[in-house]
C-alpha cells in the first residue's frame, strides 16, 4: 500500500477505493454525482482500477454484466435516484442470470437532504432493493467504509448475488446534515 493509499483510508472515498481493491474489483462503471466525485478523485491513485462513464444507470449495469461475462469483476457506482433507471436491467439481467457485481449507491433523500424531490426515491431505495432480492449494507463511518465495501463485494462474487453498499449523506456530505441549501 502506498503512503497516499494509507492516508486515503481515513476518508470514506479512500475507503471505497481500498475496499474495491481488496475485493478484486478492477473496473468501475458509473454515472457521476457530487459525492462520488471524491471517489473518482481518489481512484486516480489506483491505476489498476479502470473507470467507464455511462450515459444512464441502466446502461452501466449492462456494461458491468458484460465485464463479468468476460472475466472482470466490477462495481456500478450511482446516485440513489439512478436506481430507478436501473430496475429492468437488474431484474431481467443481473438477477436471473446470476451476474454478480457491487452496487455502490450514493444516497440522496436521507438525513441531511435539502431537495424534497430527492426524498421519495431515497426513501424507496431499501424496499426496492429488498423486493428485487438485492442484499444491502449501509456504510456506518469513514473508518469502516473499506471493510463494508469489501465485505459486500466479496459476498456478491462468492454467492453470485449482486449486493448494494449504501453511502449515506451524513458520511458523504457531513457538513450538509440539517442545513437546508447546504
Amino acid at each position: 500500500m502506498t503512503t497516499a493509499q494509507s492516508r486515503d483510508l481515513l476518508t470514506w472515498a479512500g475507503g471505497v477505493c481500498a475496499g474495491l481493491t481488496a475485493a478484486g474489483i478492477t473496473h468501475v462503471v458509473y454515472v457521476p454525482d457530487n459525492p462520488l466525485s471524491h471517489v473518482l478523485s481518489a481512484l486516480e491513485g489506483y491505476p489498476r482500477i479502470r473507470t467507464t462513464l455511462a450515459t444512464r444507470e441502466e446502461e452501466a449495469f449492462g456494461i458491468a454484466a458484460g465485464l463479468y461475462l468476460g472475466g472482470v469483476q466490477s462495481a456500478v457506482m450511482l446516485q440513489s435516484s439512478g436506481l430507478g433507471n436501473s430496475l429492468n436491467a437488474i431484474t431481467s439481467l443481473v438477477v436471473p442470470y446470476q451476474i454478480p457485481m457491487l452496487i455502490l449507491i450514493s444516497m440522496r433523500g436521507d438525513a441531511g437532504e435539502w431537495n424534497s424531490a430527492q426524498v421519495p426515491m431515497g426513501r424507496a431505495v431499501r424496499p426496492i432493493l429488498e423486493s428485487m432480492g438485492i442484499p444491502h449494507a449501509t456504510v456506518e463511518s469513514a473508518e469502516t467504509t473499506a471493510a463494508t465495501v469489501e465485505l459486500v463485494a466479496r459476498t456478491a462474487f462468492d454467492t453470485r448475488v449482486s449486493g448494494a453498499c449504501l453511502l449515506p449523506r451524513r458520511i458523504t456530505v457531513p457538513r450538509a446534515a440539517g442545513k437546508a441549501n447546504a
Binding site: L53, T55, A65, L69, T91, P96, Y97
Partner: protein, 205 residues
C-alpha cells in the same frame, strides 16, 4: 468512407435482393464457421431466436430481458476481452431504447466491438409497430455522429458479408446497420438464463 461505399452497393442490389433477418443471421454464423469462441450477444426476442436457429453455440449469449442493453453488454465484454472480436446482434427498437450506448462506445472506442443492428423498421417481437427508423431515423448516421467512425448501412447478404469480414480484421468499433425484412422466428434458445451464462463463460475461458 465505408458508409458511402456500402450505400452505393445497396443501390446496385435493388429491392429484390433484400434479406430476411434469419438469412442475414445465417450469413454471420456461416462466416464464423467452426469458430467456437467469438462471443455473440443477442438482443431479446427475434434477434436471439434467429441466432439460435442459425446456429447454437456456447459463445452465444442470448438475453431474455433487459431490452436495449445488448450493445452495453457487448461493450463490457469487449473491454474485458480485448483479445476477442465481440459481436452484438441488436434490434432497431432495442437500440433506440439505449441510444446513449452509441455515445459510450464512440467515447471508449473498443477496437474489437462489432455492433450489428437488424433494422426492420418495426417492433416485430411485439406485433410489428413501426419504429422511428421506418420514419427517417438513421442509426448508422447516429453512430458516426457519436464517434463510431466505421459505420455502415447494408441491404444485401453480399454487402453484409463483405463488411462483416472487414470488421473481423480491421479495428473498430464497427456499427453495421443491416436493413432486413421480418421473418417469423422458427426456434427459441434455452430458457435457463444461468445455463446460458455458464455455457457462455466456459466458452470464453
Amino acid at each position: 468512407m465505408p458508409v458511402a461505399e456500402a450505400d452505393h452497393g445497396a443501390a446496385r442490389g435493388g429491392e429484390g435482393e433484400r434479406m430476411t433477418r434469419l438469412d442475414a443471421t445465417r450469413v454471420l454464423v456461416r462466416a464464423l464457421g467452426t469458430d467456437k469462441t467469438t462471443p455473440i450477444v443477442a438482443s431479446l426476442g427475434h434477434p436471439a431466436y434467429d441466432l439460435f436457429a442459425a446456429g447454437d453455440r456456447h459463445a452465444n449469449f442470448y438475453t431474455w430481458g433487459s431490452m436495449g442493453l445488448a450493445s452495453s453488454i457487448g461493450l463490457g465484454l469487449a473491454m474485458a476481452r480485448p483479445d476477442r472480436r465481440v459481436v452484438v446482434l441488436d434490434g432497431d427498437g432495442s437500440l433506440l431504447m439505449n441510444l446513449g450506448s452509441l455515445a459510450t462506445v464512440g467515447w471508449t472506442k473498443p477496437a474489437n466491438l462489432i455492433l450489428i443492428v437488424w433494422d426492420n423498421g418495426s417492433y416485430a417481437t411485439t406485433g410489428g409497430q413501426d419504429t422511428a427508423t421506418a420514419h427517417g431515423a438513421d442509426l448508422a448516421a447516429a453512430a458516426i455522429a457519436m464517434g463510431i467512425h466505421q459505420s455502415v448501412t447494408v441491404r444485401t447478404e453480399s454487402d453484409l458479408l463483405d463488411v462483416f469480414t472487414r470488421a473481423r480484421t480491421v479495428d473498430g468499433p464497427w456499427m453495421i446497420a443491416a436493413k432486413v425484412e421480418e421473418s417469423p422466428p422458427t426456434a427459441k434458445p434455452p430458457l435457463d438464463c444461468v445455463l446460458i451464462k455458464h455455457r457462455f463463460m466456459a466458452s470464453q475461458s
